[in-house]
């Protein structure tokens, strides 16, 4: 036994490393992003300690600036996007009745090149200096003259690798969704999660190359003394902003559309009703994607582009509120008249609705151009963007995690600890970020390592820091819940939520080939149709 065990363990590792199974790759994504989420979270806590009171000297300015840069870069590129890609990877083939992604080897390549990028980014700490120009790395601050260490080169190379992996996954998802749907699963019957992943993948293919191209230009500037983004030699610092945000704003929607998809699966199942206005929910996703490529300059209203440009980008940004609002109202209408099950998953979905509405509305204030002139680059933006990305996307992902964990592991997460996790995270979140709106309006700029003791700033920052630690505790509860449930959780069975989409028609966890037999598909809810041959027209 003693000689057999390590060999078995080794082959298990090799099996994971060499896997091309979409489920294992999906789980690899989820585990990796969970690790990066913890790292990024610790970075956030370090920042909140430094900002807990005015004039704190816990972190030096140089260290603070590296940490806020790494926090932003980590959360965007190593957590939110790959987390959603991981879920899409795991779920898409199952939800369309396929046995794997269309291009399994490309899928494995995407994951490993993403992981390589993540490691490369963190290796910059070892090289002596992590990047410190912000996740947006505005030129000329990011140029050789002002960022003399190698941190920024690591940053650019890491993001290039991650970008390549992300684009490859997007292509893979599109090919899979077009070609591998089971019989009867027409495009108008696709589960909404798959719909949103599909639209999202096109958005990735459109947006990420803009980032990759500008990263290469920045590297050429830094390493070969070109002048793309310096005003000397005919370049332009504003050009970087245009390039970066023409990627960066679609990226915001890349980070949120799959979460919309999760919500569109979770709310109907726990309300025991089909989604309200399937066509409108799907079409509004397309509208958001199309509009999102034409709004980037709303990040640049203080640059002095001229009023005509500002009005145009203000109008397009305001317009995005319409399809987003349509979604919110449709989710509410789905719950209306339902028979709601308050599982942890559903609580996170409801919290998403409330929090994301606040984040969306504060987004409207930015699109109202002159308001942006006051609030941009202040803590108000920090609050807004965390309401969208944390209270929006991450709450959505938590809803998805509690919903699909039984499918992935075969065991239920503890609902009791789930409730503890939910309430801690919900309260901690609002404690941390609600006051930051007021801080910004009171004149506190963002990205500062300390601040003068202006009236109200000290107490609001302290509240925010306390809230951040409450979030930290909630994450510990989540991790504990996952670890304990993996061993001791209640057995899930095939379909613990009495749900309707195809992934619940196979065992939990599914076999390597996913389905022994895919049930017939005659509508949007194949498993409902099996039980109600004559009822439930959707």
């Amino acid at each position: 036994m003693e000689s057999g065990y390590p060999a078995q363990s080794l082959s298990a590792w090799v099996a994971w490393i060499s896997t091309v199974d979409h489920k294992r790759i999906g789980i690899l994504y989820l585990i990796t992003t969970l690790v990066f989420f913890c790292i990024g979270g610790v970075e956030a806590l370090l920042m909140r300690i430094q900002l807990a009171w005015p004039g704190n000297t816990f972190l030096s300015p140089e260290m603070y600036n590296q940490i806020f840069t790494m926090h932003g870069t980590t959360m965007v590129f190593l957590v939110v996007v790959p987390l959603l890609l991981g879920l899409a990877n795991y779920l898409t083939p199952l939800m369309i009745g396929a046995s794997d992604m269309a291009l399994p080897r490309l899928n494995a390549f995407s994951f490993w090149v993403f992981l390589f990028g993540g490691v490369l980014l963190y290796f910059s700490f070892v090289s002596g200096h992590a990047p410190s120009a912000g996740w947006f790395s505005y030129a000329p601050l990011s140029e050789k003259g002002y960022s003399t260490r190698y941190g920024l080169d690591y940053w650019a190379l890491a993001l290039l690798g991650i970008g390549v992996g992300t684009i490859a996954t997007a292509i893979n998802l599109i090919v899979t969704i077009i070609n591998l749907r089971t019989d009867g699963l027409t495009i108008r019957r696709l589960p909404l999660f798959v719909w949103m992943v599909f639209v999202n993948s096109f958005l990735i293919i459109f947006a990420l190359p803009a980032l990759n191209a500008s990263l290469v230009m920045l590297l050429i500037d830094r390493q070969l003394n070109a002048h793309f983004f310096t005003q000397l030699g005919g370049g332009s610092p504003i050009l970087w902003q245009h390039y970066f945000w023409s990627f960066g704003h679609p990226e915001v929607y890349i980070m949120v559309l799959p979460a919309f998809g999760i919500i569109s699966e979770v709310i109907p199942v726990f309300s025991r009703k089909p989604i309200f206005g399937y066509g409108f929910v799907a079409a509004s996703t397309v509208a958001i994607a199309l509009l999102s490529v034409g709004v980037w300059a709303h990040h640049m209203f203080a640059v002095g582009l001229g009023h005509a440009w500002e009005y145009a980008f203000g109008a397009s940004s305001l317009l995005i509120a319409v399809p987003t609002g349509v979604k919110i109202f449709n989710w509410i209408a789905t719950m209306w008249g339902g028979s709601i099950r308050f599982s942890t998953s559903m609580l996170f979905a409801i919290a998403f609705l409330f929090t994301f509405t606040i984040g969306g509305l504060s987004g409207v204030t930015f699109a109202t151009v002159p308001i942006d002139w006051q609030v941009t680059d202040t803590y108000y933006v920090v609050a807004h963007m965390h309401y969208v990305l944390f209270g929006g996307t991450l709450f959505g992902v938590m809803a998805g995690l509690y919903y699909w964990f039984p499918k992935m592991s075969g065991r239920m997460l503890s609902e009791r600890w789930g409730m503890v996790h939910f309430w801690l995270m919900f309260i901690g979140f609002h404690l941390t970020f609600l006051v930051q709106h007021v801080l910004g309006l009171s004149g506190m700029p963002r990205r500062v390592y300390t601040y003068p003791n202006e009236p109200g700033w000290a107490i609001m920052n302290l509240i925010s820091t306390v809230g951040a630690f409450v979030i930290g505790i909630s994450v510990v509860v989540l991790l504990g819940n996952i670890l304990v449930s993996l061993r001791e959780g209640e057995r899930a069975g095939d379909n613990p939520w009495d749900a309707w989409t195809l992934e619940w028609a196979t065992t939990s966890p599914p076999p390597e080939h996913n389905f022994d037999a895919v049930p017939p598909v005659h509508g949007r809810r194949p498993l409902w149709d099996l039980v109600h041959p004559n009822g439930g027209q959707a």
Binding site: P140, Y146, Q231, G277, I358, L441, S442, E454
Partner: protein, 307 residues
């Protein structure tokens, strides 16, 4: 809240606050509807039995309603935002009264007509529209005085403009709002709005060259200023002029604060700052010259003589 946008002190900031309030009514209305709907649902439609509810799939009239109502609301916001933008950004029809130039991590302030130069402290007369030109010497900065005016980026190779107009006398806090490197946090400044006579007197004093100290510690300090590398970066008009990289020191003793609002301008603080600039403001470009106690006393005396 002394520097809050809710406490405007200029017509521009007043317009911006009006727009904010209008937007809050619209957003508040939507948030109220959504919240009430969610709360009602949570109470009314919680699971009561195992009975499956009615399987409605949609309602086109409702969908059209919640598409059209938001379109009307955002159209309103779009129109009022244009009205406000035009009121805040009046047309530019003359050269600026003041040119403010962002440096890592301080603000150079020039009064072109009076040929006065100072740093981190902008004086304006109450009740007069002042046009400020915004520039940057190195990386991108952003000029923001929440109670007086909108934000404007300071961009290398480009000049932006902002109208500034204080309704009443006061000390208005400002800050760099665009991340610009290690000491972004301490790139603050103030706008002092004064009555016409005090403003004119201040400007005339700032425009005058420095008076060479007659003797004592101040005189020795002046020698040290040239001897050490201070003079390589700092100008003192009338005593030592060349291209400047650091703040103009011609009338440094007249300023309220040091190192972009980091410290109050007292002899003790000035001495500390000269002694160990990197303790006061880590990573700043002011070097530690390892000055002896006597050097510090003499240099401080010289600086204090530059009223």
């Amino acid at each position: 809240m002394q520097i809050s946008v809710f406490n405007p002190a200029s017509p521009q900031a007043g317009h911006l606050l009006w727009l904010w309030n209008a937007c809050m009514w619209v957003c508040g209305f939507i948030l109220t509807v959504v919240t009430l709907a969610i709360v009602y649902i949570l109470v009314r439609y919680r699971r009561r039995d195992d009975h499956e509810p009615s399987q409605t799939t949609g309602n086109t009239k409702l969908e059209i309603t919640w598409t059209v109502v938001p379109i009307i609301l955002i159209t309103f916001l779009f129109v009022v935002s244009i009205v406000t933008a035009r009121a805040v950004d009046q047309p530019i029809h003359r050269p600026p009264d003041i040119v403010v130039r962002g440096h890592q991590w301080w603000w150079e302030v020039q009064y072109p007509s009076a040929k006065a130069i100072t740093a981190n402290e902008i004086h304006i007369p109450v009740g007069q529209e002042m046009l400020i030109g915004i520039e940057a010497a190195d990386v991108i900065h952003d000029f923001w005085v929440p109670r007086l005016a909108r934000k404007v980026d300071a961009i290398p190779g480009q000049r932006n403009f902002v109208w500034i107009h204080a309704d009443r006398p006061g000390n208005y806090s400002g800050a760099c709002a665009e991340y610009c490197g290690a000491q972004h946090a301490w790139m603050r400044f103030r706008v002092l709005a004064e009555d016409r006579a005090s403003y004119e007197a201040w400007l005339a004093a700032q425009a005058a060259p420095a008076i060479e100290p007659a003797g004592g510690d101040a005189k020795s300090g002046e020698k040290l200023f040239r001897q050490f590398t201070c003079a390589n970066c700092h100008n003192i008009r009338g005593i030592h002029s060349q291209e400047q990289y650091g703040p103009d020191l011609t009338h440094i003793a007249s300023r309220k604060m040091l190192a972009a609002e980091r410290l109050e301008n007292t002899p003790e603080n000035l001495k500390d700052w000269l002694h160990e600039p990197n303790l006061v403001k880590p990573n700043c470009y002011m070097p530690n010259l390892n000055l002896a106690e006597s050097d510090l006393t003499q240099l401080t005396a010289f600086m204090e003589s530059l009223k």
